[in-house]
Symmetry: C2
Subunit: 171 residues, 2 copies
């Protein structure tokens, strides 16, 4: 960012300084699409991360974990969380440790299977999440604001098709 002092990010990007814009002209369409998909996701994700950190001193993985639990008042096991968050079990252990330390979730031993932990939101957790989620949705609406309803629907459809194909191809 140093040597571009004073120039906005927008201008820098428009000038072709990011990964995706610079993809060679002879790169194929599929590759270009992948790079653009990655760029879009990274831009939005890092923005959300930054705001979550600045506004609430919170992180995206913890927010994601709490979002899963908020939908399930009965709680979720570590495995279920792992599957839903699309991360490994070991990772869920670490994130749950953190959020538990903050008092937003509790691990409860399942009555009929002592291997299983049922993780659920505490009252403080539910309250904190509600507050963050409300703002979070505004951020996203804002970030998606460049598209009208028809375009959003179209994107949802195309990405839905892409997702199905990827999931189906993946061994």
């Amino acid at each position: 960012m140093a040597q571009m002092k004073g120039i906005t990010v927008a201008a820098a990007q428009a000038a072709g300084s990011d990964r995706e814009t610079r993809a060679c002209a002879d790169d194929h369409q599929a590759l270009r699409l992948w790079l653009r998909l990655l760029t879009c996701t990274n831009l939005i994700e890092s923005d959300v991360r930054r705001r979550l950190s600045q506004r609430f001193s919170f992180t995206l993985p913890r927010f994601d974990l709490m979002a899963q639990l908020d939908r399930c008042p009965d709680g979720l096991t570590m495995s279920e969380l792992s599957k839903r968050m699309m991360v490994t079990g070991g990772n869920v252990t670490g994130i749950t440790d953190q959020v538990e330390r903050e008092g937003f979730v509790v691990r409860e031993v399942a009555p009929n299977d002592r291997r299983v932990f049922r993780v659920r939101l505490t009252e403080a957790g539910r309250k904190a999440f509600a507050e963050m989620a409300a703002e979070h949705e505004l951020w996203i609406k804002d970030l998606m604001g460049g598209l009208d309803d028809a375009e959003i629907t179209q994107l949802l459809d195309l990405l839905g098709r892409l997702k199905s194909h990827v999931v189906a191809t993946k061994p």
Copy 2:
């Protein structure tokens, strides 16, 4: 994965077990789009990571770094790499250390400014990258195979618009 033993990942996803499919019906479109975007990117990214690791014992960040350098025979400074890879400088230091240790890149001190390192691919690096990049493009083509040319063009256009808006909004 436990309670779904024997059911394919595809079936499980189709049944609605992942983060995005389960988004509540009352969630707004913008949020749904964001989750779907994130899911698509994560699915593809983790697939590429896995293949890169299995096929070449290599990682995505290192591949990305070499991809940037491959386009620039004169090499790039650490700052330039940082900007293009959209990660922090400290991170570039670490990744460069690794790839340098593997003999695929070298740091050369710039003649006129002793603060600057110019990183460039070695001959071994260029060769290794060419081999990986060729396969990589096939993987991507494969993953995008569910979409025809028109759909890819449409996605490129819509995501391009989204990207511009995000970049423009983000201060």
